[in-house]
Symmetry: C2
Subunit: 223 residues, 2 copies
Amino acid sequence: MLNFVLAESALELVPKEVRKLPAVVSDSKRREADASEILLDRSFHHSAMTRLKDSEKRGRPDLVHVALLSVTGTPLYLDGKVKVFVHTCGDVVLAIAEKTRLPKNYIRFRGLMEEALSEKPGTGLIKVRPMGIKELFRSIRADAVIGLSVQGKQMSVEELARKLSAATEPCVVVGGFPHGHFTAETLSAFDELVRVNPKPLEAQVVASRVIYEVEKARRGLND
Amino acid sequence: MLNFVLAESALELVPKEVRKLPAVVSDSKRREADASEILLDRSFHHSAMTRLKDSEKRGRPDLVHVALLSVTGTPLYLDGKVKVFVHTCGDVVLAIAEKTRLPKNYIRFRGLMEEALSEKPGTGLIKVRPMGIKELFRSIRADAVIGLSVQGKQMSVEELARKLSAATEPCVVVGGFPHGHFTAETLSAFDELVRVNPKPLEAQVVASRVIYEVEKARRGLND
């Protein structure tokens, strides 16, 4: 089983300190929903977000959505060979049940995430709990945790895929945020830090390439 | 230059014959927009869509969005080596200016497409005109037009990428619809019909794999 972790993801409900700010209030009115139950989203809450700590890494549920779709549409995932976890910037982990198809429509995805993060009884396909990144890796019992970052050691995606395929419970970690780097805490939890491109790549581009090469590496092993 | 065409895409404004149906009327009220200027979207207009011809292939702007993002995030595209065209089920072609970044947020993407299809003066980054698929291929002056479909001849993505890289003005065509197959007219315009997976794959999964392998093939040629 390949474990895929989207780490420090820019996914959270609007935090208390900005719920009364104009951009949030008007969005919450428009959506007819309480500000405490809507996703923080830079597209709508930009002016309010300047007040937040690490603001540039937060409020991008669209990015999380596209990154997840690039994994959940692959044959490897649909075959039940990939387990997907979303670790958020607020240290919450969403574990997605094997083979679950996520909605391609963003508005439906947003509803699903709001439901999950508000801890409303949902479909049970997404399990949510407060959890730091180290605890997540421990709970996975990963024997190889490889983080991807332009700060890492250059390696081709093929080589990375061979490394992952050689482990029993490999875990590959992609940043779920738009700018910046992993925190020191996250970095310290990796066995290895690898870069697969000289320039930063969007999470969904990296994710789809890694899954594809792991598929090919496994096919090679089975031949 | 690699030409990437998303063909018969499920992208269109709500057609006249269903604009007065309840699902469309209530969505148009909610969005405070005229029904003639909003995208047909199965997530909201499902009940109205049963009246439409070829209904199962239409009304999936979310799918088009995700497929385009899987191309526009790649190094090859960002390097100006891929030209992207969206051909719609209604024979309209949207030509996206080289290196244009599309919004990752679906709501912004939807706004952009509605603006383009309503022929409102936009940013000029998307050129829209009525055009059939054959006329599009002629205008590209493609010397190799390869369509992807499970009905095609089995080939690995690597092999396909080598074929594309060997042409001067290659064109790869992926279906921009959720179910079904290319029409006979589209099929007759291909030089070759290829399948890269035994089961149907989502457009964004195929697209990201093809672009990635073309990148690798070109790197190989330059070594």
